[in-house]
Symmetry: C2
Subunit: 173 residues, 2 copies
Amino acid sequence: MTGYAVRAAIRDVLGHFWSESFGQIYPTLAELERSGKVQREGPATSGTVGRTRPAKFAVTESGLARLRELLAQPARPAVTRSGLLLRLFFGRHLGPAACQKLVIETRARAQEQLAHYADVRAQIAADEAGEADRPYWLLTVAAGEHAARATVAWADESLRTLDRLAAEQGSSR
Amino acid sequence: MTGYAVRAAIRDVLGHFWSESFGQIYPTLAELERSGKVQREGPATSGTVGRTRPAKFAVTESGLARLRELLAQPARPAVTRSGLLLRLFFGRHLGPAACQKLVIETRARAQEQLAHYADVRAQIAADEAGEADRPYWLLTVAAGEHAARATVAWADESLRTLDRLAAEQGSSR
DNA sequence: GGGCACATGTAAGCTGTTACATGATTAA
DNA sequence: TTAATCATGTAACAGCTTACATGTGCCC
């Protein structure tokens, strides 16, 4: 595929747990070509900007071997910073109403995510070329679904707490 | 508190959704002091390394105002890269057994997290100084708990799928 | 007296994003 | 014809981590 298509695929299929920008993709493709991990089909790197004919890349045997090598390396679990939870942690300074707004927005996003996962499931089911990959791809979708449902459940619980806090604050003034 | 204590607090209390390294904390404290957002109590920045007497910092009124200003700004929801899900997405190249190992490890980490959250809950309940903050702090703990429980449920479901895949692969050879 | 937790800072470097520049092709 | 999408790339820079340097105080 083209570099542009790589980015679209990452955004649409891996979007809920991965992202890459053009600033990473194009230099990386060039580097992978130099080291023989991918094969370029189409015009060579022009050095010029703008379009000539799109260059399509395919992974080579050597590239696939390197992929397997990298996949086998342990994933270091990185802490994910959550701007939402940081705001809620300081919620006393923000006030219950503002916190409710944040939680409601988060709940809505999680619901949208659930709808998106339904779409992705349909896409994966329809893609016959990826049949052997299907069960693995579905594992990642299921992870997203579980996370999104947990977010909705947490939001509902939290909104009840915040309602109570808002009522207390309202009555004390 | 001291810069060292700030880091310990972030690690122990916000650890499941935030992190800061010394490389961020010390320069930031110096900058906050310059702009009057925190008040240093104890020896001035020596420029020298090593310890003299620990310097303790306290937030000023101006610093608190700035905190509220920052909290009110919208949190841009960043995509969290998951090395685990990336590996599972390419699970066909990794094999069912290796995937099972990854999922089992993830499940174990989630269980450890649940135990940790129980500790944090106890700490928060015992801290009388933070009584007004308590409900907000508990919201962030609840978020962690929901996420961890979802991870365990997803792992159990996924392990059943992977068992089936491993059996199929075993029988076809 | 040895090791660990407490404590402070700097510098190098890595990762990744954003913004910009450029232009072809296609659908409205 | 005009806007959107496809397409390729570079450069600046933001953010953050790691490694290093340096020491104190306390407990075993």
